[in-house]
Symmetry: C2
Subunit: 400 residues, 2 copies
């Protein structure tokens, strides 16, 4: 097998970019070298030879000796600009940027077809867990019923702190920020966006469907309060932030991100702190469960490295299911059994429950449990979010 | 990507062979067809068109239109004969036969090099869990510290029955046999051999080391009794059959299969019945955990299918670590902290403990807990097995 020599242009030198450099230095693999590193802010102290640094993207993109771009910056638009330019110049791309991929998925698929270059993003979904390639390669010809899991390490860390150490959301968030797990603006993590981008990445491989972020409902854990934790605890359950992709019929798929109650027999119950977990329910293999570190320089660096080594052997995602997929539609008519708690009365016009099995009203605590259609939740997402309403799914066995 | 058309000659029509046919029928993939099926016993009723059946291996091996052999028979020698003949005839091979691979690993590696054909065996290790390819591809360039897990569904089913339903070993074994999980001769499953073959398969990819079955210690669960279960239960632990491959130093590796005590925080604690689990401890990604169905026609059929689809795209295991591996030695000098219980006195000449922290003697129940060298356990394996001695590892945190 002839291995391609990789001359890498790296964008970004944050936790992920630095993680890749560390992993590469430890591994000392022949035929893989970082030639140039493009960073945004001049003058920061960096443990890198100054002649390798540049502040000008063109120093990488216009260098014909660089045949691979590794993109680890934050922000989706700048990143897409870099990645699409690199691909058009015939450079392969390895990216850790889930938002960039999710925001531009169709164009990125077209660009791969047009240019013939490879775009790999194992590190963008669930850090160190080798899930993108496993779904693509191992389950590429097997119908997938459901994907779920814990895809966001920051919110899982906060949930563990709230459950185990009985901390308030704000205190737990502050600890996550102090430890470097959460950004100064934690919205993407705690509101479920980050998990949604990862769900979109995996769904493209598991079900062959490319969904736009704006069409998918996401609720996060920002409005989780002690009352909700106590509700879970009394039933011996935990609350986890769960992205779900579920086949609901022939060519019908439901996608959403929402906190949910899980029991002790569920593998996800035991996934704590910054760890991630992925559950697959496949047609022939049944239930599969994977867990590992969801974030951090080394795990993400490891996933980037695995993409680079695959590139050396000429690997591209075959997108087996996407190439076969006819006209799968997103199904928003399914009813979800949810728990909704609000600081004020929840008007039935806002949350039109199909069935209601429990309702409780007291000062500052209005709680309803019942079934409601996914589309009705999505319609009111912004409003519910603004009103501080906490929504979670009631426990449902992961189907097997 | 040009896909190769696969004309398959299938050997064996037991649970696994039938599983593949079912999965292929459900999937209806273009370019994959079973042309001929070789079975051993004429006259059995089979749900297969009679013109596809043959009792003569040469009908497959000498048919130049068949380019892939799928081998699912039991028995190692006959299988190796078939597989090596097929490879020499330029046919790719997909096999579910862990014993055949483990018994003949070096020759099979040489045969792949000589003939240029591909030999894939995802289904041979942990059924539906996509572990061989994940270790080879995702962790192929990352140092692996440790592999452990539950690799044998039959013994795990028996252990679950003994723990949960408080059944005796013999009753639990009978139930496993009645459900088709255990063979009439259950030795390979309950004595730890089956787990050992799988450990050898994974070690070749995770550490690049090909170990012979006869050099690796295996203890099983045959001599597990209520007293041992109660000992575990009192500490809130469970007993699982755990194969281990652990780096003990530069170019040093310890391999063994032995029951062991695991606590609630360990992912393996929650792997019950016929499910399997795999734990990896890698240099950069840290702890990884995978679980899924370890056996059964559909999960194993699914793994065979994934190998076939990979073959269509020309996949071969690159054996990245094996090609780099210099001279790693098996380390038998490490001390293991074990619990040994025997119906009679355990003489110190037989079990030379380095340190002893607990000893109990009563009629029919002699129990010692202490540290003993791996090589001293292996020397006495046969004798201890004959004497009905039950050995298990004391709990040790899976290192992280």
């Amino acid at each position: 097998m002839i291995k391609q020599t990789l001359n890498i242009g790296l964008f970004g030198l944050g936790v992920v970019g630095k993680g890749l450099l560390d992993v590469l230095q430890n591994s000392n693999l022949p035929g893989i070298a970082v030639k140039k590193i493009c960073v945004k802010t001049p003058g920061k102290p960096r443990e890198v030879a100054p002649e390798k640094l540049t502040f000008n993207a063109s120093d990488i993109l216009d260098d014909p000796s660089i045949n691979v771009v590794v993109e680890t910056i934050s922000g989706s638009e700048d990143a897409f600009h870099i990645v699409s330019r690199a691909m058009r110049k015939g450079k392969h791309v390895v990216t850790a940027n889930k938002k960039m991929v999710a925001d531009n998925f169709s164009q990125l698929l077209d660009l791969q077809d047009e240019t013939g270059v490879s775009l790999l993003y194992e590190s963008a979904a669930c850090g160190g867990i080798p899930i993108v390639r496993t779904i693509e390669e191992h389950f590429g010809s097997e119908p997938m019923e459901q994907i779920s899991g814990i895809f966001n390490g920051t919110s899982n860390f906060i949930l563990s702190k709230m459950f185990r150490d009985r901390l308030d959301f704000a205190v737990a968030l502050k600890q996550a920020q102090d430890l470097g797990f959460a950004e100064l603006d934690p919205s993407s993590d705690v509101d479920g966006l980050d998990a949604k981008y990862k769900l979109i990445l995996l769904t493209a491989h598991s079900h062959g469907v490319v969904a736009s972020p704006e069409t998918i409902l996401h609720f996060g854990i920002r409005h989780l309060r002690t009352a909700d934790i106590e509700f879970a605890r009394q039933q011996g359950l935990k609350i986890k932030l769960l992205p779900v992709c579920k086949r609901t019929g022939t060519n019908k798929l439901a996608l959403y991100v929402m906190p949910g109650l899980v029991g002790e027999k569920d593998g996800l119950y035991h996934v704590e702190d910054e760890f991630n977990g992925v559950q697959l329910n496949t047609a022939y293999s049944g239930r599969q469960f994977f867990s590992g570190r969801g974030a951090g320089g080394f795990p993400t660096g490891s996933a980037l490295l695995s993409d680079l080594v695959s590139l050396q052997r000429g690997y591209r995602y075959p997108y087996q299911k996407h190439r076969l997929n006819g006209h799968t539609l997103l199904d928003e008519d399914i009813a979800l059994r949810v728990y909704a708690r609000a600081p004020r009365t929840i008007l039935p016009e806002i949350l039109p429950f199909d069935t209601m099995e429990y309702a409780e009203q007291s000062a500052g605590h209005h709680c309803i449990i019942g079934e409601i259609k996914l589309k009705n939740l999505r319609k009111q997402r912004e409003y519910l979010h603004e009103q501080g309403v906490f929504i979670m799914r009631m426990p449902q066995d992961f189907e097997n």
